[in-house]
């Protein structure tokens, strides 16, 4: 049954205290410790991402479920490695090195997270919106435009162990 509310009063805007990373269940080994910079998840369109790294996906692939874990050096905080589950490389996680770069065509001060920085043909770049929100960029380091159902935004999550 369709219920219609026409809002004429009442406050808007989510309280900051409620704007926190949500929980995400994992059945894999939990990444823990000072080397974990963060875990980010989101759902993006599939074909555009596959095309970028020259991977052919069947037409039935309409979305990718990303889980990106970024690791840093415990002492310096510098980027080290990453692990990503996104479906482009089958069920096995994709591992590689990541780096931080500065600047893109629309913002000279932007902080960029570059995955597989040493492998240009496999590399993805994300722009750091803030500590909790990352935006996947295109090969020209421009924003990608999503759809009603999917975006190119990854969100920091709090992993919790699931029980099978």
């Amino acid at each position: 049954m369709l219920t219609v509310f026409v809002a004429h009063a009442g406050s808007a805007q989510v309280l900051a205290k409620n704007n926190t990373p949500e929980k995400s269940i994992t059945y894999e080994e939990m990444p823990v410790g000072p080397t974990v910079y963060g875990v980010f998840e989101g759902r993006s369109p599939c074909q555009e991402m596959a095309k970028q790294v020259s991977i052919e996906m069947t037409p039935s692939c309409t979305k990718l479920k990303w889980r990106l874990t970024l690791y840093v050096d415990a002492t310096t905080g510098n980027p080290t490695t990453f692990t990503s589950y996104m479906g482009l490389y089958g069920r096995t996680p994709h591992k590689g090195k990541w780096a931080i770069r500065k600047g893109c065509p629309f913002d000279k001060n932007a902080t960029l997270i570059v995955l597989d920085a040493d492998k240009p043909n496999e590399s993805f770049t994300l722009m750091k919106g803030d500590d909790n929100v990352l935006f996947i960029l295109d090969p020209q380091n421009q924003f990608r435009v999503g759809t009603m159902d999917l975006s190119y935004t990854l969100n920091r999550v709090q992993l919790v162990k699931g029980e099978r």
Partner: protein, 168 residues
């Protein structure tokens, strides 16, 4: 001769009137008509996450938004916001049983700066009726992202984010 045969004086006047109006339509300046830009996206919702406080999100997983903004290039104008929210319908991108609906209209203006980005452009939506504003940061001409009360980026979840994309 054929025209004279079929046109009475009244019909002749009507024909002249029609021709004159067609010429007027062809030369009318339509640039004053507001250009509308539509942004869409699906966001999380829960009992604690209510971008619009009057939403009853006690039984809500996600919300589908359509925001139409007029005169995007001018810095102010009118908007309409249509949001359908509720539980997911498995195997689809639809809201179960049609969901609940929020339908807002109002005016919008621009502000400057968000947490960490002092030059960022913010679109502030002010619904008619005096409800609190909704703020979205303009990532570029085709992307907006919702902000919380402290002008920080809203954090999504594994399934949905708070980024709205321009649609044609």
């Amino acid at each position: 001769m054929l025209i004279k045969t079929f046109l009475t004086p009244l019909n002749y006047l009507l024909l002249i009137w029609l021709i004159l109006n067609l010429q007027w339509l062809a030369t009318t300046d339509t640039s004053h008509l507001s250009a509308e830009t539509t942004f869409v996206g699906s966001t999380p919702c829960s009992k604690n996450i209510k971008p619009i406080r009057s939403m009853d999100t006690s039984d809500c997983e996600f919300a589908k938004w359509t925001i139409v903004i007029s005169d995007v290039e001018t810095g102010k104008g009118h908007f309409t916001l249509y949001c359908v929210y509720g539980m997911t319908l498995p195997g689809t991108t639809q809201v179960r049983n049609g969901g609940a609906v929020i339908d807002l209209k109002g005016t919008w203006t621009t502000e400057k700066g968000i947490a960490g980005f002092p030059n960022a452009q913010v679109i502030r939506l002010d619904p008619y009726g005096g409800a609190d504003p909704i703020r979205l940061v303009k990532l570029n001409e085709r992307l907006l992202h919702m902000l919380d009360e402290e002008k920080k980026l809203m954090i999504g979840n594994p399934a949905w984010s708070y980024t709205f994309s321009m649609t044609k």
